[in-house]
Symmetry: C2
Subunit: 333 residues, 2 copies
């Protein structure tokens, strides 16, 4: 018996944000809707006020591997020149429990699947014609979300808002080059929201960044920053005002997503899981001029989906490093 060790560099080479990866992450939503997913609540290990470890995992009936992802958020890291967030994924054989593969991906697969989940939301909910996309935040997900969005919508302009001018400038230069379109910093979120047909929020905020009256007809918002109790990016009145509110997992979003603030705001409205749309069980007629919201917290099913696809790609090129039980390493290339 042996295990395959796969590094970040290989994963970036063989599994970029592409249509195949998007399809796999979309499957994860469908699996949940089909009741095929055994997914316990997120396991949260507190380290200190600035640092924590979150473990997600999901078994999916009919899928021959299950992933356990160990994600870390250590928010003092930037002071040391290190990224705040990272992750390691262990992929178990669903027949035997054997550790078939370890992805030493330093968070790449997590970033990738999170960006792609945003694209799945936009694919099903956002206006087809979206000239301008607005992104709040200038970090890693501000990049992955917009790069993934480009797989499902053709937009010609990105507006970005962030608190640090240097980061906004770096984002504009970086993403302008990568996407080959205009990427423009704006100095307040209101301007951004009023001018965009698709808005993506990607922050660690703990209070609303977007007010309800900024959100006009024909706007889609994907809020992906909130994933823990106490986080918030949207005024809950936006959820009230929207024509349609979707989320990745009701269980998770009511605890850690934007939906956690509904009850306190006295809002009681229908929210559907995105899986009902991806599976085709509950087709939604897209009506021009509607306001649509999607609240994403990230699911273990998505981790299993992206990790299974990663293993498939790495095996196709005979990549990774095989480590046998006896401790011998064989470089597969």
């Amino acid at each position: 018996m042996a295990s395959l060790i796969v590094t970040e560099a290989e994963l970036r080479r063989h599994l970029p944000p592409d249509a195949g990866a998007l399809a796999e992450v979309e499957n994860a939503f469908t699996w949940m809707d089909q009741g095929r997913v055994s997914m316990p609540p997120v396991m949260h290990i507190d380290v200190d006020a600035q640092s924590a470890v979150d473990v997600k995992g999901a078994f999916v009936r009919g899928v021959n591997h299950l992933a356990v992802k160990i994600a870390t958020g250590f928010f003092e890291n930037p002071k040391r020149g290190l990224p705040s967030c990272s992750s390691t994924i262990v992929l178990l054989n669903a027949e035997t429990g054997h550790c078939d593969c370890v992805f030493l991906d330093n968070g790449y697969l997590m970033d990738l699947r999170t960006g792609l989940a945003g694209a799945v939301a936009a694919k099903h909910l956002a206006p087809i014609e979206a000239e301008t996309v607005g992104v709040i935040g200038t970090g890693v997900q501000a990049r992955y979300q917009i790069e993934s969005l480009a797989l499902v919508r053709s937009f010609s302009r990105v507006l970005v808002f962030g608190r640090t001018p240097e980061k906004v400038a770096a984002y504009c230069a970086d993403m302008g080059r990568r996407l080959g379109i205009e990427v423009i910093g704006v100095d307040n979120p209101e301007t951004l929201v009023r001018r965009s047909q698709i808005v993506v929020t990607t922050t660690q905020a703990t209070e609303a960044l977007i007010a309800a009256d900024w959100v006009g007809p024909g706007t889609h918002i994907t809020a992906m920053g909130s994933d823990l109790r106490g986080k918030q990016e949207l005024d809950p009145q936006i959820l009230q005002k929207a024509d349609l509110v979707a989320c990745d997992s009701l269980d998770q979003c009511l605890v850690g997503g934007e939906l956690q603030h509904m009850l306190g705001a006295g809002i009681d409205r229908e929210v559907i899981e995105l899986g009902a749309m991806t599976s085709g069980r509950q087709p939604i007629a897209r009506v021009p001029g509607q306001i649509t919201i999607c609240d994403l917290t990230g699911t273990g099913a998505q981790d299993t989906a992206i990790a299974v696809e990663a293993l498939r790609r790495i095996r196709r090129v005979d990549g990774g490093i095989t480590i046998s039980c006896q401790g011998r390493a064989a470089r597969n290339d």
Copy 2:
């Protein structure tokens, strides 16, 4: 940045059940008593009726790594000639969250720390003079428990009871050779319990294997098989009858250990955590003739303790395989 990959073979070579490893696992109990441990409930992923994944993890204030252990129990595996249980441990840097080390230990570290935890229980609770030790079960833990027990008590005879005569015979031959003492199969658990001063139960049983009236004065029992809702090895009346009942974690044992059956049996008695003894906070005078019980479920703190010790030993011999971010593997030997 790089991660160290360590295999089962290396771990077996450099970290056998020895006094140093025992001391580290004993520390894990003390850490819990000192309130230094941040340890969420076990994360349980159901695969099917015969298979599940359990994730445990703990951060310990003052310890520079934290372990997340992914343990699997796939009870159809023996039909394929594979062991039922396995595990993989990911060791994160407690300062940065970086994955410093992955132990591809195939369950070895889990087996080791579980056996050593039993020895910690016996060290603090079992009679000093114990001629005969009885073990119920003939599997992996029946071996590790008794081998570890030999670190803390000098016994000259082991009695073993199991349902399968071939397994009992194999156990007697194997352990007799390993310990250099008499290891004898008995044909019923009552004889075993009545003749032993220390009894260890190591089964997957879901109903009591030991009746209360078999347990005489001067007996210590460590029940380590039950770790999930529905499992049971002891008649709850034994807990009532005992002079002292200890456990590794009240929170866990009340849910998945022997203690889960107390309430239903109308038993309300004091149970102390072993950490209160290992830390010296609540010294227990050992009184000859007492009946003592310890209920063990296994804690994430123990996983962190054994994994940190494993990393220390492997680094001392410059072992493991270093895998850099860029995907280069370097064999450290």
